[in-house]
């Protein structure tokens, strides 16, 4: 693919847009955007498994939480320097994904959904069980003094935004590249017709395992980044709700598209932001959006755009 192909231009355009927005937006909204970018990393991780490989997991919160607790516990209890703690967080998520994946991938369809849900439930209960260290539902704060990197305090709005953007950009471009590789295209083949892919000589089991590991790793990046930039680690991030949210984000934005996850998080964030100011039952709005989405725009925003207007949309 040439450097100036439409997909490449789109990706670069998105990143440039995010840079520009920082200078244009008032602090409240740029703060939101930092959070959105970090959650979009989580969504992109989920997209690898759901959007591209076609596997619906209901337990991804455990990977996000693994990244979060891996980082948070390393810093708070181990006094580990920031970059190493960050890597530990990601590694925990990846390791968990490898273990859970090798077991859960023995099932398919509904059973896979339930098994991933149950593993996530177990992870949540384990977090509560070791409440002495994890502080359970209450959670703990990662002190500001620990959140500095190379002399830069990561708690200022600017540092937060820049870090979030850099991490997002790395994951975004890496995954956009991945889906263009033979491996990425094989994942799509597995989603479309696994038996056929198998009978073309592809080892579908290994592909699916790699997909879930990559998916878990990226989700872990999101979790570790969240803890690092927003300074809070808590068990609520390991609950079922945080497993359903990435599904919702990816569906809304467009499963199997590169930009979809970011769009999905963005829309959902502001939709909830808006409806929280109107009612405490904002999840009702979430529910209605989900139903309307799947009835009238099942491919999500970017998916429908790709289907009707821009067939080149990556």
């Amino acid at each position: 693919m040439t450097l100036f192909s439409k997909p490449n231009l789109l990706h670069i355009g998105v990143l440039l847009g995010l840079i520009v927005l920082y200078f244009v937006l008032p602090p409240y909204h740029s703060g939101n955007l930092s959070r959105i970018m970090v959650l979009a990393i989580y969504a992109m991780g989920y997209n690898v498994l759901f959007g591209y490989t076609g596997l619906l997991s209901l337990g991804h919160a455990m990977f996000f939480a693994a990244g979060m607790y891996g980082f948070g516990l390393a810093v708070n209890l181990g006094g580990v320097p920031l970059p190493i703690a960050f890597i530990l967080g990601i590694a925990s998520a990846g390791l968990l994904a490898a273990v859970v994946g090798s077991l859960a991938l023995r099932t398919t369809g509904v059973a896979f959904m339930i098994v991933t849900l149950m593993f996530a439930q177990t992870a949540y209960l384990v977090v509560l069980y070791f409440g002495e260290y994890t502080r359970g539902d209450e959670g703990f704060v990662v002190q500001q003094v620990q959140r500095t990197f190379a002399g830069v305090d990561l708690t200022t709005d600017t540092a937060r935004y820049v870090t979030a953007l850099v991490l997002f950009a790395i994951c975004f471009l890496a995954l956009a590249r991945l889906v263009k590789t033979p491996f990425g295209k094989t994942l799509v083949a597995i989603r479309e017709n696994e038996e056929r892919a198998r009978m073309l000589g592809y080892d579908t089991k290994v592909h699916k395992l790699k997909a879930i590991i990559i998916s878990g790793l990226v989700a872990g990046v999101g979790g570790a980044a969240y803890a690092m930039l927003f300074g809070y680690v808590g068990a609520t991030f390991a609950t079922v709700q945080y497993s359903i949210l990435p599904l919702l984000w990816v569906l809304l934005g467009g499963a199997g598209t590169t930009v979809g996850p970011l769009i999905g998080v963005f829309f959902m964030f502001y939709l909830i932001d808006f409806s929280s100011s109107v009612t405490t039952a904002y999840l009702l709005v979430v529910g209605i959006v989900l139903v309307l989405l799947t009835m009238f725009a099942p491919k999500g925003i970017c998916g429908e755009l790709r289907r009707r207007v821009f067939p080149w949309l990556p």
Partner: protein, 308 residues
């Protein structure tokens, strides 16, 4: 209390759990068996049954039995109608596509749950049982005069709980009769076997689906009405029954009704017994892992055939 009597008490409590679970899981099993859809909102139908029961009994004064009987009829009926409407307007539109159905029912879950929060409120509210006598239970011990019955202190059960067990058995038997002996049951089984052929024979598959979806929801609601005098109605009470019902249906074997009943009894009893003896947290962790392993190594469940 000694181990023996304690175990018996735990078993009876477990039987109550199993009874309600059997009804709820049966509802899910019928829906999945006939329609092949995963209804993530099933737990909310359960919750709606309990909440509606509260509304009905609050509205009808006088003796609690009056309100309760009314609730027993009205709540499942109303929930069934709501479910049938959801099927007609939403599920048919997305043509029961598996992924879209899961998403749509997750959406319905939030709508029902939050809708209840907005109207019913966040508190748990009790419903009075129609009758409630404490019955002391006997235990046999080898005493000085040989085997004797005695009544250990604290070993008792309420008459209402026994009623719940009996009611569940009656309803399940009625359901079995409906499915195996009536024309409607035959139509349901035919649609389950091969919906295309059924349609070719003039069976209105669309209407059968709405009926089945409504029936499944009504069963869950019925289970909730039975349990609400014991547990209290709360807008979040649908989560655990949903999970347990899914586990029961999958372990019992998708599409197998006898399997569902056996699995419900097994899981209900274990849940009841374990919660009496062990720390709930550890018990939950072990139970979750155990169920996961079964799903992984015997995905067809106890009685089911290997699907897909």
């Amino acid at each position: 209390m000694e181990f023996g009597p304690h175990l018996m008490l735990a078993s009876l409590e477990g039987a109550v759990v199993a009874a309600v679970l059997a009804l709820t899981a049966m509802g899910l099993s019928i829906v999945f068996g006939v329609m092949r859809v995963v209804n993530v909102a099933h737990g909310e139908f359960y919750m709606l049954g309990a909440v509606l029961a509260w509304f009905v009994t609050s509205a009808i004064g006088g003796h609690p039995a009056l309100g309760f009987v009314a609730a027993l009829v009205i709540a499942p009926l109303l929930v069934g109608v709501i479910a049938a409407a959801a099927d007609t307007f939403i599920l048919k539109h997305i043509k029961y596509d598996p992924d879209r159905t899961i998403v749509a029912t997750i959406g319905l879950l939030y709508i029902f749950q939050q809708g209840t929060l907005m109207t019913f409120g966040p508190d748990a509210r009790p419903v009075e049982a129609p009758f409630n006598h404490r019955l002391a239970l006997p235990w046999i011990e080898n005493g000085e005069n040989g085997l004797q019955m005695f009544w250990p202190w604290g070993l008792s059960i309420t008459s209402y709980k026994l009623f719940v067990i009996a009611a569940a058995v009656v309803v399940l038997m009625g359901l079995w009769a409906l499915i195996t002996r009536t024309k409607i049951g035959l139509i349901m089984r035919a649609t389950q076997q091969d919906s295309e052929t059924a349609q070719a024979f003039g069976i209105p598959v669309g209407r059968v689906y709405s009926l089945v979806f409504g029936l499944g929801a009504a069963l869950a609601a019925l289970g909730a009405v039975l349990v609400v005098p014991i547990q209290q109605a709360h807008y979040l009470m649908g989560g655990e029954p949903l999970l347990l019902a899914f586990i029961v249906v999958i372990i019992g074997g998708l599409g197998s009704l006898p399997g569902t009943v056996v699995a419900a009894v097994l899981i209900g009893m274990s849940d009841g017994i374990i919660s009496v003896f062990f720390s709930p947290m550890v018990a939950k962790i072990i139970a979750t892992l155990f169920v996961t392993m079964i799903l992984i190594w015997r995905p067809q469940g106890l009685f089911g055939k290997v699907i897909r």
